[in-house]
Symmetry: C2
Subunit: 138 residues, 2 copies
DNA sequence: AAACCTATTGAAAATAATTTTCATATATCA
DNA sequence: TGATATATGAAAATTATTTTCAATAGGTTT
């Protein structure tokens, strides 16, 4: 959180109660929350918080690399905090459940910067699709 | 294409010129096209084609596993054909260019069905983020 | 080939998510 | 504290996608 304060100062941004509330909501919430969910959670701490400000703050936090977007196929973008622990997601194609899975299947990528096709690879995103325990039959 | 004809008949769907045009547009187009782009391309063959029908056909083709969705972070969903060759994408974080990269970095996944956390893993999606040749400096 | 039935289509209207506008409020710094 | 530029909330605007509905056209049966 102090780290955020630094980030903001460097960029000439201000530290507001709204930004703190949104950040806290993201960190205390589930693995992937919709904007609406983040808004609801953040209003716990700051009931007057507007939805527009949540959108704006998410954009800011995205640039500051505090959150990342994830799209699960329904029409809305979701967000989750960028934590120390790199992880991926198991997504159930039947019920839509999302579960984080620790660790990385792409061993050559951990830490290192790779080059391929002239691309300098800086990060990656992996989603695993299937059926969760509850949705398996036969 | 004949395969599609079978698929449709089995499900009681009809083979229309609209559906043929959309499918052709997807197969002849780039790796990831927006709905608008698919519409434009398909109108080459069928100028009267409506955008609504493109949306409906994409939904149908998704269920028939002929196309898959991909979300690149701008507000619109993109589509690409599901081809024989499994591949992933290099996405430039600066200019937004998308380039397919053949082959799979997840060796244990090719073909096999894996189980993890009780999940039965049936497929996956991997996107690699970085900077393309043109956008690298310093 | 004509009739029949139902799935499909296109245009327009409706929705839903996200962005923009603008007047007001407030964080930061001298 | 006061000056000032950034940030905020509400409402309006925009954009992507879905729904509605009357008209059209596959596919099948006579
Ligand atoms: Mn997660
Ligand atoms: Mn592709
Ligand atoms: Zn990984
Ligand atoms: Zn792969």
């Amino acid at each position: 959180m102090d780290e955020l304060r630094q980030e903001l100062k460097i960029r000439g941004y201000r530290l507001t109660s709204q930004r703190e509330a949104v950040l806290r909501a993201i960190y205390e919430g589930a693995c992937t929350q919709s904007v609406e969910e983040i808004h609801e959670r953040a209003k716990q701490w700051l009931p007057s918080l507007g939805l527009t400000t949540v959108y704006r703050t998410l954009e800011l936090l995205k640039h500051a690399r505090k959150v990342q977007e994830i799209y699960l196929g329904d029409g809305k973008v979701r967000y989750e905090p960028i934590l120390e622990t790199h992880h991926h997601h198991l997504i159930c194609q039947v019920c839509g459940k999302v579960e984080p899975v620790e660790g990385c299947f792409l061993s050559p990528f951990e830490g290192a910067t790779l080059v391929r096709n002239g691309f300098q690879i800086l990060g990656h995103r992996l989603e695993l699709y299937g059926r969760c325990r509850d949705c398996q039959e036969g």
